[in-house]
Symmetry: C2
Subunit: 500 residues, 2 copies
């Protein structure tokens, strides 16, 4: 199809559509007319070196000449084009794997080949946001069985870079989110790496929460490292804490997560495939998974947690990973801060063994580090927790943490946001309920995680005796607008923290 009649000249427009690949052509462009293209038509754009698929937006003004073509920033970057470069436009051949997505919509069970074809097309950018959404929705609501989740996981592992560490044991941990402030990962890595185990940790950014581990770590150091840079850090320090996205581990996952974020959903199958594929692609052999359970956490009942535990351990086994799931208390936020910088402050206090370090964060980190030490077989059963405690209290974990941050680029101190509002108790009583979802929502409205220093500082804990007028929590924001927006929500919801 690459004949003279479908040649156009690239013109830079500068439109950021996030990940979506959009192509802009004039309504009077001869190709649009001869080929019958209209807005939203999916078409293929090629250079001599490569090609991409993009959705058409039709220009009805003079933004483009008739023989010019524009691309969204994501599309231009992927195609690597320069102004005035010649591009070739052609009809999109049918994306065969969309047939599997339709089959899944109609409740059919898909096999490994189907998932592999779907994931391959997603990684190549051949799916529109509409296609991605249909795939995610069709797989949500427990519509994938264990075979299918295993197939999806395997397909996601091989879809991107796979790291190898030439180590018999490579440990990792993961927490099934939903618990604001639960930032144990940097602590566990510091402890376990200080022990001498290899723990190349890749973390995600927030999906629907006010902060992901990568967001929090970004307060301290650079988290966007290439696979080569990660290797160097891990070879030097035994551990790292980086964002998994740029490392091109399970790259389909980041595209799927963007849509899940837009929909504010988190499906079990995608969740398991996401977590385990990242672990396996990162070259891990032994993984501890923390599932906090609580009425307002992501997993609301012990029964659901046990099912997830069962599924994760079974699928872990099927793909050759030693998985241990630990079910923990998820009734209230962990630590005091919710939001990247506020959580970073909690982490520092724990590492420095400060008197006012949040005890719950310390204890959870020691528990998980202990489990990981035991799962690795390098310490005797029953001695993991004590070993972890010694590494923390001796300052070895703190030293290791600073060393890891510096190896990743630099170590920076967290700072607080300039705007704040203190929320005080309207009456005396006992602090009975903290609504995790509402607290998380409030932190997001205040700007977290995009505004790194925004979020919520909890000044009281569950079960505490509260005096009228006592400080319950503080809202931090980087702009007045965001502070007002958070306050609007707070004023409308008076049951974020309940004192009875």
């Amino acid at each position: 199809m690459e004949n003279q009649s479908n040649v156009v000249k690239y013109r830079y427009l500068g439109i950021n559509t996030q990940n979506e690949r959009v192509v802009y052509m004039h309504e009077n462009c001869h190709i649009c007319i001869s080929e019958g293209f209209e807005a939203l038509t999916r078409i293929r754009i090629s250079t001599l070196a490569g090609s991409i698929v993009a959705s058409l937006n039709v220009i009805t003004s003079n933004l483009l000449l008739h023989d010019e073509i524009g691309l969204s920033d994501a599309a231009a970057k992927e195609l690597n084009v320069s102004p005035n470069e010649t591009l070739y436009v052609s009809h999109l051949e049918p994306i065969e794997s969309l047939g599997h997505v339709r089959a899944k919509i109609y409740n059919q069970k898909l096999g490994y080949r189907a998932y592999n074809e779907i994931i391959t097309d997603i990684v190549q950018g051949n799916y529109s946001n509409i296609d991605l959404t249909a795939f995610i929705t069709a797989c949500a609501g427990n519509r994938m069985d264990l075979d299918e989740i295993t197939s999806l996981t395997k397909a996601m592992i091989t879809s991107g870079t796979q790291l190898h560490w030439n180590q018999e044991i490579v440990v990792d941990k993961h927490c099934i989110g939903g618990l604001p402030g639960n930032r144990t990962t940097p602590l566990v890595v510091a402890i376990v790496a200080a022990f001498g185990l290899t723990m190349p940790k890749t973390s995600s950014r927030a999906i629907t929460s006010p902060a992901g581990t990568a967001d929090t770590m970004e307060v301290f150091t650079n988290v966007t490292l290439s696979p080569e840079e990660i290797k160097k850090v891990v070879a030097q320090e035994g551990g790292c804490i980086v964002w998994g996205g740029t490392a091109q581990l399970s790259p389909a996952d980041d595209l799927l997560i963007k849509i899940e974020k837009a929909l504010d959903i988190d499906s079990e199958g995608q969740l398991i495939a996401s977590v385990l594929s990242k672990k396996a692609a990162a070259g891990s052999t032994h993984v501890v998974i923390d599932i906090p359970v609580g009425e307002t956490a992501k997993v609301r009942s012990t029964k659901m947690a046990q099912e997830l535990q069962n599924h994760m351990e079974t699928i872990g086994n099927a793909i050759g990973l030693n998985v241990k799931v630990v079910i923990t208390d998820g009734t209230q936020p962990v630590g005091r801060g919710i939001g990247p910088a506020l959580e970073a402050l909690d982490i520092l206090k724990v590492l420095k063994n400060e008197a006012d370090a949040p005890k719950d964060l310390t204890e959870r980190s020691l528990l998980l580090a202990g489990e990981l030490l035991e799962l690795s077989g390098k310490v005797d059963s029953g001695t993991g927790y004590q070993t972890a405690r010694e590494l923390l209290e001796s300052g070895k974990a703190y030293k290791k943490f600073i060393a890891i941050c510096e190896a990743q680029g630099h170590f920076s101190q967290p700072v607080l946001a300039p705007y704040k509002f203190e929320v005080r108790a309207k009456k005396s009583g006992i602090l009975k309920i903290i609504d995790n979802r509402k607290i998380a929502k409030l932190a997001k409205l205040s700007g977290a995680p995009t505004a790194k220093s925004a979020g919520i500082l909890l000044n009281a804990r569950l079960g505490e005796n509260i005096e009228k007028g006592q400080l319950l929590f503080t809202i931090y924001a980087e702009s007045k607008g965001e502070l007002n927006y958070a306050l609007e929500y707070k004023n409308y919801h008076d049951n974020i923290i309940t004192v009875i």
Copy 2:
């Protein structure tokens, strides 16, 4: 939130994104910075007169000044803005009905209120394409029960204009697609209106097929009429055949159909709600529904057809419509033409009682018109078909058809496309199989329905004795590129028509 700090000036950009409402703001716009907006953030844009919700695309070039805002054509039209007009930008309050969509994704049953809130938000343009896709996918694959489909149908009826005809009996018909060339509607309307019944027919454009009834009728006359214009035509002629979209009947349907088209799916629940809501909103009281059954038709087995029949009659009853479902033969295309103009030619031949009029199209139209006459109670049971036949053979139906077209604006003769390719039999034998899906795909690749005169003319019928070299079918296209694209597909698939 409408203070001085979120005021911007509108600048015309001229970007057609089809239905999607997109807002363009500069990355250095003070609002983006202060509010933490990034690409794909959903935000509210207001004038003093009204407001819309749109997805943000961030301009990284000089297309916009920092205090300017651009809108996609659909968004600008809805907001009715003029260049340099002052616009107000604010955070989007949570779209509450998306909570129901999430519940549906997680397999919960929704009630009338939930569906009504969802449809209301969809009609107001509050859903992004991602939201619409999630809703459609969550409802597909038989995930709605009869109560839910009834609720959705009722919600869709009241979401737009409802027509009233001051007639005790208002008849209508509908065919559950999947059978190329099955263009009985214009014939049934002509016959039934010639009899004296009121039949204000609103039809859809093609969803995934090479032509919808509205596309075919557009070859003859204007099909984009306002409710007032429709009333006038029906008062004068007793019938009309118009596109249902502009009439604002069940307006949510058109938005949902665009996404279904992009996904190439058609879910049972949406299908029933779409058909029955359009009928009820159009003020119909008695409706005959044609379900063609065949291996390559939309409904593939009699069992599936009977289930659909049962569901449609039950839900029809629940919303106060007299519905009769007729299950018909769907093993091969009806008539000879597939594509708007080619089907229009078939219709004319039948109306004019020409010797080479396609018999199957004639017989199907008489059957359905007869059923409709009987369902109305205006002719005795068993005499419908004969009555219909007399109206057609006498030329009364033809006269009525011309009169309806002229009342809708004009009557134009169909013309054939300039480019064609004749496909001939490679060997002698019996024509055993016509693959409806592949024939439809071929017609679409040749340009139908956008290219009105493009499509396929079948020159042979199922069961016919074929000589080697005999003409099997002809591909028509309006451009050489489209003809080549169709030929490429044909050359790759040699089982479109099978001679054994």
